[in-house]
């Protein structure tokens, strides 16, 4: 599944693990995405796929592990990575009180592009929001806000497109738009990493599909009921440690370490 990363790889993740507070969301994931490749990762909620995407986008600094985007390190060269990737996240990330056009103009100016009115309007037209330019984002439906964030993606040409549940809250037309975007990126030589719990609307675009479960990549989807149940449960507190040392701070503020089974 993982081979030696090459500099020409669009994305190379090495042993990424990340926790939120005390809970591990990603437990050790390594993968590569080649140039002009579309990789899809399926997984249920809580499988860690969103976190993985965010690590690749440099929105999160992984607790463990490292990675590169076209050879640029995710931590050391974060600025460079940001100029090459674009993330479509589950939240639209728009400013409710600004109009659609104003949101796009803000994005354009932050991206360093000229952001002239024609370019912005074209982006809106492409996502089917051509006539909503002066509508405040707050008054848009979630599907429309989704399209607005897709329009934001169109303002630049990312080398690596990161899509988090891109088909959510989109009608068939919107889903087709996402797929067009994927095709275009690939045709240009860029790559796409797409995560979703359901790939039925992807029109089989993915060159490779993987599954992520409970923070790890799995080779093939499992029909094992026991593992499903285990994956579904979420308790990570001290009483649940199975084989590990049990450590306890007693009232006397002393460490008491016991080996053996769970308490």
């Amino acid at each position: 599944m993982s081979r030696l990363p090459q500099l020409s790889d669009a994305l190379a993740l090495n042993d990424i693990a990340h926790r939120y507070g005390r809970r591990w969301a990603v437990r050790g994931v390594s993968l590569n995405v080649a140039r002009s490749e579309v990789l899809a990762i399926m997984g249920h909620n809580g499988s860690g796929k969103s976190t993985l995407l965010r690590v690749a986008a440099t929105a999160i600094r992984a607790t463990r592990g490292s990675g590169t985007v076209f050879g640029a390190d995710l931590v050391r060269d974060a600025q460079i990575v940001r100029s090459m990737v674009a993330l479509l996240s589950t939240e639209p990330g728009v400013y409710g009180d600004l109009t659609a056009l104003e949101n796009l103009r803000f994005a354009a100016r932050m991206l360093g592009t000229s952001g002239d009115a024609l370019e912005l309007q074209r982006a809106l037209d492409r996502v089917g929001l051509g006539r909503e330019g002066h509508e405040r984002a707050r008054n848009m439906s979630s599907g429309m806000q989704r399209r607005l964030s897709i329009a934001r993606l169109l303002l630049r040409e990312p080398y690596l497109l990161l899509l988090d549940e891109p088909y959510n809250s989109l009608d068939p037309e919107g889903a087709g738009l996402v797929n067009t975007l994927i095709r275009e990126t690939r045709a240009r030589g860029g790559s796409v990493l797409l995560v979703a719990h359901d790939l039925s609307r992807s029109e089989g675009l993915a060159d490779r599909t993987m599954e992520m479960r409970d923070g790890l990549l799995v080779e093939s989807p499992s029909a094992d009921g026991e593992r499903d149940a285990a994956a579904a449960s979420d308790t990570d507190d001290a009483s649940d440690l199975a084989n590990a040392d049990v450590v306890e701070i007693s009232a006397a503020r002393r460490l008491r370490v016991e080996r053996g089974g769970a308490r």
């Binding site: 190379a12 090495n14 926790r19 790890l216």
Partner: protein
């Protein structure tokens, strides 16, 4: 897969937790044990000697001897804050968890010492001026410093994610430390402009030696308390990291 998650990752870049596996809980080092026993002896000895040996102040009598605790406590409190500043800079520069734990230990001990300074200053003020509080420069700056500590500790208490907590408290610690001399200067000017009488000098020459000796004693107190507190925080930290390791490898597929 279970093995690879526990092995130190072979990093292409420099990202990732580097130092956590190096932090271990060790037995209390010899020097600390010795110091822990020595320090109370030094404190008692130097306090007792100077309290008994020095003559009562001509104005304030024996009350003046409260300065033997108040002033060294104040110096140590400020020293602790300097320590917090250095460790905070070190954390932001190198992202070493150890530095964050030291800063936290320093802040906790510093807060206690600052509170002690304030209380003693208040106790001294009551018989001297008839009031529990006087707005003199040193006492007031110390009160502000105390509030900065309290804010620092409140922020730590309210932030759960350890990495975010470390970063945020480092920023607060650094800015707070930068402000201490400015606060002191502004309060001092504020006092002189209002033409308030300045606090009578607390450094009667006969007291100078006493203050120095007790200052050293209090620095020892500072070192001992911060060291122990740091070790306690370190132990908690290592325990949490071990639990995280266990949680990481649990249910991992081979």
């Amino acid at each position: 897969m279970a093995e690879s998650t526990l092995r130190r990752p072979a990093a292409i870049g420099t990202s990732g937790e580097r130092t956590s596996t190096r932090l271990e809980v060790t037995a209390t080092p010899g020097w600390l044990v010795a110091l822990t026993w020595l320090t109370p002896l030094v404190v008692v000895a130097s306090q007792a000697y100077f309290i008994l040996a020095s003559a009562p102040d001509r104005d304030m009598g024996h009350l003046q001897k409260i300065m033997y605790v108040h002033v060294p406590a104040a110096w140590s409190a400020f020293l602790a804050f300097l320590f917090v500043f250095i460790q905070s800079v070190r954390y932001l520069w190198r992202r070493e968890e150890r530095a964050d734990l030291m800063a936290a230990a320093g802040a906790e001990v510093g807060a206690v010492l600052t509170g002690l300074t304030l209380m003693l200053g208040s106790i001294w003020g009551r018989p001297t001026w008839g009031v529990w509080w006087t707005w003199d420069a040193r006492l007031t700056s110390t009160a502000v410093l105390f509030l900065v500590y309290v804010g620092y500790l409140a922020l730590r208490g309210l932030t759960d994610d350890p990495e975010r907590r470390a970063r945020w408290s480092a920023a607060v610690g650094i800015l707070g430390a930068l402000n201490v001399p400015i606060v002191y200067m502004s309060v001092k000017w504020w006092r002189t402009l209002h033409q308030m009488q300045s606090t009578p000098s607390t450094v009667d020459p006969t007291y100078a030696w006493g203050l120095r000796a007790n200052a050293i004693a209090f620095v020892l107190v500072l070192v001992v308390f911060i060291s122990h507190r740091y070790r306690a925080l370190l132990a908690e930290y290592v325990m949490e990291r071990r639990m995280d390791e266990a949680a990481l490898s649990r249910r991992a597929r081979a």
